[in-house]
């Protein structure tokens, strides 16, 4: 079995209102040195295969076709044996 650990992040050019709200809250907690917070999605997908090269291609396809919106998001992932 393989597990893909996938991160889907907003592009730097896209405003992140949630991240901004968290930065404000951290400031209220006294963390005055927090300059920026960006909220991302973390997705795990388990695959019934041992072929890492094929899994990388498959996860890349999955990210492109569904998990990330290319207009606003980027993604990266790592694949581990489990």
């Amino acid at each position: 079995m393989l597990k893909a650990k996938i991160f889907v992040q907003l592009k730097p050019s896209v405003l992140d209102p949630q991240g901004k709200a968290v930065t404000n809250s951290l400031s209220h907690l006294g963390y005055d040195n927090v300059v920026e917070t960006r909220i991302s999605k973390y997705i795990e997908i388990s695959l019934d295969t041992r072929d890492i090269a094929a899994a990388q291609k498959q996860i890349d396809d999955i990210c492109n076709s569904l998990l990330a919106n290319p207009n606003t998001e980027t993604y990266h992932f790592v694949i581990e044996e489990i």
């Binding site: 896209v14 405003l15 209102p17 919106n69 207009n71 606003t72």
Partner: protein, 231 residues
Amino acid sequence: MRVSVITFPGSNCDHDAYEVFARRGHQTKMIWHKDHDLENPDLVILPGGFSYGDYLRCGALARFSPIVKEIVGFAQKGGMVMGICNGFQILTETGLLPGALMMNRSLKFICKHQYLKVESANSPFTNTLTPGTILDIPIAHKEGNYYIDKQGLERLKDQDCILFRYCDSTGLVNDATNPNGALDSIAGIVNESRNVLGMMPHPERAATDSVCSQDGTRIFEAIECFAAGRA
């Protein structure tokens, strides 16, 4: 006019849209998202709601419903498609319209009456309206903050694709009259072929005498006028 209103699991404005078109005398049909036949419409409505519970991203999963393949083919042949609120989100996810709808800058669900300025009469959806016309049409969304990259925005402007902007009662378009942070106050756009409209406001909620604004009828009248001219 023959109108097909699509229902996805989680759609909740499909019956409102159906009622408006049926009351206006059109042959209106409800189409389930698993169907493969649009039943030969002149106009397809993708209604508001929360298709697939807004899981992953609003509209992202609806894109894979069987009927969407038919809608893409219909649109590519020039058929009129109107996506309202969640319907707009689905159209961007499908790629029939550019850009994306992000979370409102306030992080809040906003449900209120909103003034819109008509920016272009060059579409089936606005052809009877004069640019500068102000419409009072409700909004109800949490993810209506329109985003597109810089080149995309320039292209929308160059191709006259921005149909509606948020404004106040005097037509003022600025940051203070922008309810959700949408780029350039964009409330509704049309594709470059001008047959696919996406808009966050709900004209179907401003189209009967029982509600306080009937300005949505101005858009439906424009569609009817266009369809009559084409028939």
